[in-house]
């Protein structure tokens, strides 16, 4: 629909017309500000811990905080993987060598309460929330 609107505005004489083709869904998925009629529905972005433990891929495992899983991010903040709290592979290796690649993620506009219910059903302790590009926004913890 927006491409036709853009062309229509151009016909009406507007000189600088841009089309945000992926639109509202993309904006909401990235957790950016909107005006909503239903303000009672919580979304994943409303329940995130926005400073979870994370590290660069080349971080030695021995330098990671013990007892917690660690999210591995590249220099752009994109999620590459997660090092489980059990630290498989030993302390002499890097985070990238021992991480589990491609952890499951959800977008910022995922309805929070159904997400928490699914996490409880499947005994998932935490869920990563990212933008559509995979940039980490935070982590939803079970029971939050």
């Amino acid at each position: 629909m927006s491409p036709r609107a853009a062309w229509r505005l151009e016909r009406l004489g507007f000189g600088h017309v841009y089309d945000y083709v992926v639109g509202k869904v993309d904006w909401m998925a990235a957790g950016l500000p909107t005006v909503r009629a239903n303000t009672t529905e919580r979304r994943a972005i409303d329940g995130v811990d926005d400073a979870p433990p994370s590290c660069a891929p080349d971080t030695p495992v021995r330098d990671l905080t013990k007892g917690r899983s660690i999210i591995v991010l590249n220099a752009s903040g994109i999620v590459l993987g997660r090092v489980p709290a059990s630290r498989p592979g030993g302390p002499g290796r890097t985070a990238e060598e021992v991480m589990q690649p491609g952890p499951t993620t959800v977008r910022a506009n995922e309805p929070l309460d159904p997400l928490l219910a699914r996490m409880a059903d499947r005994k998932v302790a935490e869920m990563l929330v990212t933008t559509p590009e995979g940039r980490l926004l935070g982590v939803v913890h079970a029971g939050s």
Partner: protein, 67 residues
């Protein structure tokens, strides 16, 4: 010719003074829209309704998604 832009370019253009326009019907705009967006439904888009826009500033239109 209209130019396709991504989210990052939308943020940059809006910060520089561009106007955001949602072209979906009223109920969908009411349900949720981008902060600061003007509502101009495609079905009513004409010379008179477009008069609310400033012709001297860029315009960014959007709907739900690519479909």
């Amino acid at each position: 010719m209209p130019t396709g832009v991504d989210r990052f370019e939308v943020q940059r253009l809006v910060a520089a003074g561009a106007q955001l326009v949602e072209v979906l019907p009223q109920d969908e705009y009411d349900e949720e829209h981008l902060e600061g967006a003007i509502h101009l439904p495609l079905k009513q888009l004409g010379t008179e309704t477009a008069a609310v826009l400033d012709r001297g500033r860029p315009v960014i239109v959007y709907c739900w998604d690519t479909l």
